[in-house]
Amino acid sequence: MNLDYSPQEVAFRAEVRAFLADNLPADIAARVADGSPLSHDDTLRWQAILHARGWLASVWPREHGGTGWSVVERHIFAEESALYSAPRLPPFGLNMLGPVVIRYGTDAQKATILPRILDGSDWWCQGYSEPGAGSDLASLRTRAVRFGDDYVVNGQKTWTTYGQYANKIFCLVRTADGKPQQGISFLLVDLDTPGVEMRPIRIIDGSVEVNEVFFTDARVPVANLVGEENAGWTIAKYLLTYERTNIAGVGYATKELARLRQLARQIVRDGRPIADNPAFAARIAELECELEALRVTNLRLLANARDGAASGVDSSMLKLRGTQLRQSLQDLYRMVLGPMAGPLAGTGLAGDLGLPSDAIRAAQTYFNHRKLSIYGGSNEIQRNIVAQHLFQG
């Protein structure tokens, strides 16, 4: 047994570090580091820098403009990016639609869609969930009926993350009745199509990250179908395997724990730094133990994936524990501030308390991060998946 990276992997890590040190814009890194909200322009700038280096599409093969990285190299890049406070790029085009088009798309689709993801011409969002179809996704009811060379789409999608920045959406739509999984198709839609309307959903922390999308007799060319008609469920499942990259969030949790420690030394309450409150210090130490275990679990499962021995439920276990850990970290981050967690950022004098930006927003971030155990397959669904594996046969 050994936990060491290979010499090539060590060299790759050094290369990534050097690149990040030289190319990550300081103003963007500072905003990520102190938890300030990023503008869409920040995301676009970082994407362009990665694209210029050829490091944008980490899960695509080289022939399509991707990096061709192994799972271990992807892990190293994600880990270093988190430690250097690089922005996390939205996964919808790069990690979700891209691999689907490469696997199931026509040559024409590959030629038009992939380059436009890389150069930032297109921003994709995801049309999966519906008001009546969340964890039970296959019960979706948005319908596409074929008329000549078009589908006419009617229905409603929801929880569409960053839909406000997107110009395109990939959707699961119902094209046939019968068994729920069998009548679903994977359809690409321009958001400026007449009959498509995006409306923001304000969430618990006051921000807008997600949207609902309404389709009213929207006409979509049949050429926008990916894969066979009614084969969308298979594609959706394939796509989810890519959504799982970096799902444990070990890099983020490591960074969050370090910031928590730092802030707990800075903030004095009742005569001593909060870090010296024994109850608080014990909670920090407990989370450090959980994080160390998760770090090694992540590496073990990564080695399995590298060796083609992934169990199929590894990512579910990582998602469960990773999200629990990050939610616990946010809980504690909020608690460090004591009464100072109360004022709402952006109102009155809330920005002038002499705290780092993410500390001012600690309570809001805590509420925002309740999403971690809900999205991407709720933690209850992840338990169902692991249970299926545990009790099979």
Binding site: A285, E286, A293, F391
Partner: protein, 362 residues
């Protein structure tokens, strides 16, 4: 990165697993586990023939291994079998003797004729050696011990008891051959003892041995984490089988979502215990040994107790019976946290180290 055991370790694990399943079935184990000397001489002899105590000793001292990976492999199987033999005490003693350069005493350990116990705990000290009270003084050319030692694991079956006692400003190690003990069975089986020193004459092995004692204790903690892992793996399999077999309301318990989800959380806890034990093993010979061992012992203690409680609950009434093996595994998983410092002791140890780091930095 490679998380598989080496071929050699896999062979060792397989042969030890087969041997223990055959030589120490649950009924024989439970007969011996709660009655003096809490030890089965033929079982010990068989372990010695397999080279098990020898695996605790490095090759430099005539042993067959002594690496952290060796310890992890052996104790995982000990845990899977719920073996009560005085292996923990022998491991602690062997590492200490090795660091103190007493290879002469190790020959018997490797051969299986010597069984060791380490008397370090006191009624008011479980983990922080700064607070030990027992003392050693030289009187008329020989060393005399004063004070009281408690929770000396495996001592009732030991041939040699090593006692940690204060010598002025240092911690020394002293040997007692088969001293008079106040012995008892442990709740989860196996033997332990207290020892009133009251002027006992002892052989001095070292007058200043604190780093060696700390290392031996950390190695014992690594062993306990690995033992936890083995016991959890076995109890997970028992629990899974039970849920799939037992029917209520006309269907197997494993079809009920509330129970399936709890079983999944147990499985994930098991994965985390494996990972944190690997972490402690991998870092054992490095500068961060103490912290990684403390993290492993703290997390393992917490997760193992929760796991055991869940296992009992998922079994219902059967989990409460003496006859069902699972109940004994559950007891071990709860009580193991009490040995060599529990989760609170090791969290406190991490916090003490953090404070020292902050002080050093300012």
């Amino acid at each position: 990165m490679d998380f598989r055991h080496s071929e050699e370790h896999q062979l060792l694990a397989d042969s030890l697993r087969r041997f223990l399943a055959d030589a120490s079935p649950m009924t024989a184990r439970n007969t011996a586990a709660f009655a003096f000397p809490y030890h089965i001489p033929t079982l010990w002899a068989g372990l010695a023939r397999l080279g098990i105590p020898g695996a605790f000793v490095t090759e430099a001292h005539g042993g067959f291994g002594g690496t952290p990976a060796d310890i992890m492999v052996v104790f995982e199987e000990i845990g899977r079998n719920l073996c009560i033999e005085p292996l923990l005490g022998t491991l602690l003693g062997a590492r200490l003797l090795e660091r103190l350069g007493r290879g002469d005493l190790l020959e018997g350990v490797i051969a299986g004729s010597e069984r060791l116990a380490l008397a370090v705990n006191e009624p008011q000290v479980a983990c922080d050696l700064d607070h030990l009270a027992a003392t050693a003084h030289r009187v008329d050319g020989s060393w005399r011990l004063q004070g009281q030692k408690s929770a000396i694991y495996g001592a009732p079956a030991a041939t040699l008891v090593l006692v940690v006692a204060r010598t002025d400003d240092h911690l020394g190690v002293f040997a007692l051959r088969e001293p008079a003990l106040i012995h008892s069975a442990m709740v989860d089986g196996g033997g332990t003892a207290d020892l009133v020193l009251s002027g006992l004459r002892a052989e001095c092995l070292a007058q200043d041995a604190r780093p060696a004692i700390e290392e031996a204790l950390d190695l014992g903690r690594l062993a306990l984490c690995a033992e936890t892992l083995g016991a959890m793996s076995h109890l997970m399999a028992l629990t899974k089988d039970y849920l799939q077999t037992r029917k209520q309301f006309g269907q197997a318990l494993s079809t009920f979502q509330a129970l399936r989800h709890r079983a999944v959380d147990m499985q994930v806890d098991l994965e985390q215990v494996l990972s944190i034990t690997i972490s402690a093993m991998a870092e054992f010979d490095g500068p961060q040994r103490a912290r990684h061992v403390a993290m492993a012992k703290a997390l393992t203690g917490k997760l193992a107790a929760r796991f055991a409680e869940e296992a009992i609950q998922l079994h219902g009434g059967i989990g409460m019976t003496w006859e069902y093996p699972g109940s004994h595994y559950a007891k071990r998983l709860v009580m193991i946290d009490h040995q060599l410092g529990d989760r609170h002791d090791h969290i406190a140890r991490m916090i003490r180290a953090d404070r020292q780091d902050v002080k050093a930095a300012t």
